[in-house]
């Protein structure tokens, strides 16, 4: 057993685990943050996406020990208690989720995508950027709509803040 300490959603947290423990299982089972999901075995579905030191990664393909000392943000940590991040709000408004299982990964992906593209997103780019996330319920139609709407909203807010 190895003791793994990392900063999760702004708090220092630690837990003991085997070296073979995946980050997603550490987050779910040791830290009790079950919003991050496992939907495949081959690094493809993206239900497990979290942010590691500010970048979106698939936590099913990283060992917990690899992440030791890093900063991790999960779906539970992107908005204040009782609040929704603009991406979460847009998914609600535009019905970008059905069963909810892929949703945390989709939201974490969208937050990363919007940040990386600095507001410069269109439908084609969003669909291409969702390459690593599989949804079986929505046909992606409303996910794409929600990401674009959140992007607009966040750019608007950024412009306002700049003025």
């Amino acid at each position: 057993m190895t003791k793994v300490t990392l900063t999760v959603n702004g708090r220092a947290m630690s837990g003991e685990c085997d070296d073979r423990t995946l980050l997603v299982h550490f987050i779910r089972e040791k830290l009790g943050l079950t919003g991050t999901h496992v939907g495949c075995d081959t690094t493809q579905c993206g239900a497990c996406v979290v942010h590691l030191d500010g970048r979106s990664v698939k936590s099913c393909s990283i060992l917990a020990v690899q992440a030791a000392g890093s900063t991790v943000t999960t779906i539970e940590g992107i908005a204040g208690q009782g609040e929704l991040h603009p991406v979460q709000a847009a998914f609600n408004t535009h019905h970008g989720l059905q069963c909810g299982f892929c949703t945390p990964g989709m939201v974490m992906t969208a937050v990363d995508m919007i940040a990386r593209h600095g507001g410069d997103l269109d439908e084609h780019t969003v669909r291409h950027e969702l390459d690593g996330n599989i949804c079986r319920c929505t046909g992606y139609h409303n996910i794409v709509k929600a990401v674009l709407a959140a992007n607009e909203e966040m750019q608007g807010a950024a412009r306002q803040a700049a003025e």
């Binding site: 085997d18 081959t42 690094t43 993206g46 099913c60 393909s61 690899q66 390459d131 996330n133």
Partner: protein, 265 residues
């Protein structure tokens, strides 16, 4: 996944020493292939030596037309490097096509070429760019580096520290993705440099990445998107599986070469 022991190296020497003291150990760069393989219990390294925290293995330098990319540099950093884009945009485009955004944040160039998956993208670029693979102990021309399916010239414990290449006059990459895995069914990298035209193909060869000499000759004679069309590609040398027959791959080699030339401009 079978049990394993994790080690985090902070220098190349430490990594190589750790590796040499664990016969059944493996280097862990981004882990985007290795961890997935271990999860399927298809690989069982006793020890993993993590390279992600070795500063010397990371980063990109462009000196004139000479590009050097550290072995532990993630694909996303190559894709977004303005310095590389200024001299060889094709390699940025290729990096931006690997896996998905999350994989590109973790996966590294050193890991990709050391693994030499027959459907990986970087090997085609390395071969077409006549890149040099730099290890902890020597420099290996790409031509000699990729030796077969998942096989390279790397010796036991040898560590890829960087790759370097001269930016060509023109280069382009086009790939056709497997509808399921999204890996290359066929990817073609074309490069036109002072030394001539080089064309490398990934995803298609039954022995891994290879140079398509017939297309090179056609493009050397006439650098035009239509040139690869008539080049003969022998399906007997190509892979065949449920997603793509060898004949289909032979066609895709020509078509992707055409598109790579268009991309190269």
């Amino acid at each position: 996944m079978y049990a394993t022991s994790y080690h985090r190296a902070s220098s190349v020497d430490e990594a190589v020493n750790l590796r040499s003291s664990h016969d059944e150990g493996r280097y862990l760069s981004g882990g985007m292939t290795l961890i997935a393989t271990m999860k399927q219990r298809l690989a069982a390294p006793s020890d993993l030596i993590d390279l992600r925290h070795i500063a010397a293995l990371k980063g990109i330098t462009v000196d004139g037309h000479t590009v050097r990319i550290g072995g532990a540099t993630p694909h996303a950093d190559v894709a977004s490097s303005a310095a590389v884009r200024a001299v060889c945009p094709a390699i940025c485009e290729l990096a931006a096509m690997i896996g998905d955004p999350h994989v590109r944040h973790m996966g590294t160039i050193g890991g990709s070429i050391a693994n030499n998956d027959p459907a990986a993208d970087y090997p085609a670029a390395m071969l077409a760019l006549a890149a040099t693979i730099i290890t902890d102990r020597r420099e290996i021309p790409a031509e000699e580096f990729f030796t077969g399916l998942f096989e390279t010239a790397l010796e036991e414990g040898e560590l890829v520290t960087a790759v370097s290449f001269e930016a060509p006059e023109k280069a382009g990459y086009a790939k056709f993705r497997n509808p399921a895995s999204r890996y290359a069914i066929t990817g073609v990298f074309v490069a036109k440099a002072a030394g001539g035209v080089r064309v490398a193909v990934t995803g298609a060869g039954s022995n891994g990445v290879f140079r398509a000499e017939t297309i090179e000759a056609a493009l050397a004679a006439d650098w035009s998107p239509e040139s690869p069309k008539a080049a003969s590609i022998d399906p007997a040398d190509l892979m065949s599986d449920m997603h793509a027959s060898a004949e289909y791959r032979a066609n895709l080699v020509r078509v992707m070469a055409k598109r790579a030339v268009i991309a190269a401009g």
